[in-house]
């Protein structure tokens, strides 16, 4: 029996599971939301007044202790300051200094607006939306893998399947391949949704110029798609291993989902704190080196490090600056190694484990 036949029949079965469509739908919708959020943020920010503080001269009665708000937009447009609270007088104001500060603020806001525009116009929209959706895709891919493999143990259908003699390793490879293929398909759907969302939102803002999607931009989009797809592969392997590992327990599917998704979030939100914690202790400096070979760190760097964007979680923990991002090649090799080792272990275990009836 050919591998493609098994793949076709695996799809025949999987397409009937509502949860698969829900998960993939979430991912697709999320990619669109990432574009829309940037557009909404732009709309909110663009008409806001830029507010800053008035700078007073050094010999003013109270130096920098009173917060006096100034509308920079008006100030830079030439509207004079007419009143200041007691004990200041208008003569106490450092007009050039206040002007410089206002200009910096306006420039900052403008930069932010530019970034937001870049986030909802093509081709920038695809890169940014894919990056964040790529992060979400990891727990979804892990969950999907557990559903595809773990449910077979839970229902006892793995036994029913193997009793027809398709071969254990072939069945597992087909299951992993279909999850990987589904993830690839969802990225194609996601990019279509991102492009549509971008075209619609860009059309709503006449003052914003449409980005140019030339051959180079298309190449970048394809590269980004391959990048986010690849990021999920080690987690698919991890989830496969956990599904087989927990297969003997009642509720094994739930446990495998919990550990696979939990592992991802643990790394995301805890590793940075640990880096920061151990960085200050000379006896634990080795931890920083260890982290360079950690899956979560390298996955985050693979998705976010290239553009110098803050790595979620690691940034939250304030770890940025204490550890440098691994390079692309390093991150790729570490992810590939995790994928091969975890996947290999999953196959090894799947091939040897006794297959019992339903496990609950």
């Amino acid at each position: 029996m050919s591998w493609t036949t098994l793949f076709r029949w695996e799809w025949f079965k999987l397409r009937g599971r509502r949860i698969v469509w829900i998960l993939l739908g979430i991912l697709t919708v999320f990619s669109s939301v990432m574009v829309i959020i940037r557009y909404a943020d732009f709309e909110f920010q663009k008409d806001r007044d830029v507010i800053d503080e008035i700078i007073f001269l050094p010999d003013a009665p109270v130096l920098g202790t009173l917060e006096v708000e100034l509308n920079c937009t008006e100030f830079l447009a030439g509207v004079a300051i007419t009143e200041v609270p007691d004990p200041y007088t208008l003569e106490d104001i450092d007009l050039p200094g206040t002007g410089r500060k206002c200009r910096q603020e306006v420039e900052g806001i403008q930069n932010r607006l530019d970034k937001l525009v870049d986030g909802f116009t093509m081709p920038g929209a695809s890169e940014k939306a894919l990056r964040w959706t790529g992060l979400l895709s990891i727990p979804i891919a892990a969950f999907l893998t557990v559903l595809v493999i773990g449910s077979e143990y839970g229902w006892g259908t793995l036994r029913t399947t193997l009793m027809k003699g398709p071969g254990r390793s072939r069945i597992l490879s087909v299951k992993l391949a279909i999850v990987a293929a589904l993830m690839a398909a969802v990225w194609v759907a996601a990019i279509a949704v991102i492009v549509i969302s971008s075209l619609v939102t860009t059309a709503l803002v006449p003052e914003v110029s449409h980005g140019t999607v030339d051959g180079a931009a298309v190449g970048l989009i394809i590269r980004d798609l391959a990048r986010v797809w690849f990021a999920a592969i080690p987690y698919i392997a991890l989830a496969a291993l956990l599904s087989v590992l927990f297969s003997r327990f009642a509720g094994g599917t739930l446990a495998a989902t919990g550990v696979a998704v939990g592992y991802f979030f643990f790394e995301l939100f805890s590793m940075g704190r640990l880096i920061k914690l151990f960085d200050g202790v000379s006896a634990f400096r080795w931890f920083g080196t260890l982290v360079e070979y950690d899956l979560g760190w390298n996955t985050a760097a693979w998705l976010f490090g290239r553009a110098g964007a803050p790595i979620p979680g690691f940034a939250l923990a304030g770890a940025i600056g204490t550890t440098e991002y691994p390079g692309d090649v390093h991150a790729f090799l570490i992810q590939a190694a995790f994928g091969v080792v975890l996947g290999g272990l999953a196959f090894w275990l799947f091939e040897r484990r006794d297959v019992a009836g339903p496990s609950g």
Binding site: T160, T161, D354
Partner: protein, 303 residues
Amino acid sequence: MPEPVIETSGLTKDYGDVRAVDDLDLRIPAGTVFGLLGPNGAGKTTIIGTLLGLIRPTRGTVRLFGSDTTGSTDAAVRRIGAIMETPAFYPFLSGRDNLRYFQGISGVADEGEIDRLLDVVGLAGRGGDRFNTYSLGMKHRLGIAYALLGDPEVLLLDEPTNGLDPAGMAEVRSLLRRLGTGERTIVLASHLLNEVEQVCDQVAILARGRVVAEGEVREIIGRRERFRLTTTDDAAARTVLESVEWIDSVVAEADGLLVEAPEDRAGDVSRTLAAAGIYPTRLLQITTSLEQYFLEVTGEDGS
């Protein structure tokens, strides 16, 4: 004797400290309806699982269709149809789609066969319904249809009537009898003695993972035929009967003699005694059921 389609040699399976199958040597000839009879925990499911390659033996070998399949069973398993305990199918697929899937992964595409099998097991009208809406009886019947996919040479059925009501049991047994009339080999693992008695030609009785008795079902029942006998002179009758070659044993009881002899020799018992001038006043045939025999050999009768 036909070549064995299933043969195990020294087959042993340990689960930690528990030995589920203990040095099992089994030969199941082609074309027989073979019963694996044993109480729960006797190792029946483990044996079937091992034959199908779902459970790895701790020791020993399995030969299917003349080839050693201990390492890889896939090719041989495609020639076998099996049910293990309560059939497990995809709850979100219909009965028909479940069969289509399992037929598909077997490398066969024959929609006609699915219709035919649904008809055979009486599910033609419900084939389009989702599996999770099926009653237990319907699940079992779908399991039989699944086992019959591809018209396998061997059927391995582990407790195929487990949980069915009496009508369902009768229906399944009748189906099994029909299936066992051709050249197909059927292995029926069951703890239900009457089921094995009704369906099987040969039986291996299992206890604690070992075969404690094996042979033709009739032979096993026949060899334990007994007569309760009272005569005009029980003591003399005992002496006479003890010297007869085909009588296995004669035991004196409070109200007569208990004679162990083949079931068709009751007349010969009377004739032998009459020739010695002793006349039976009562001759009662006691048919030892497979159940009694089973309880004796498995030690489950408290002895």
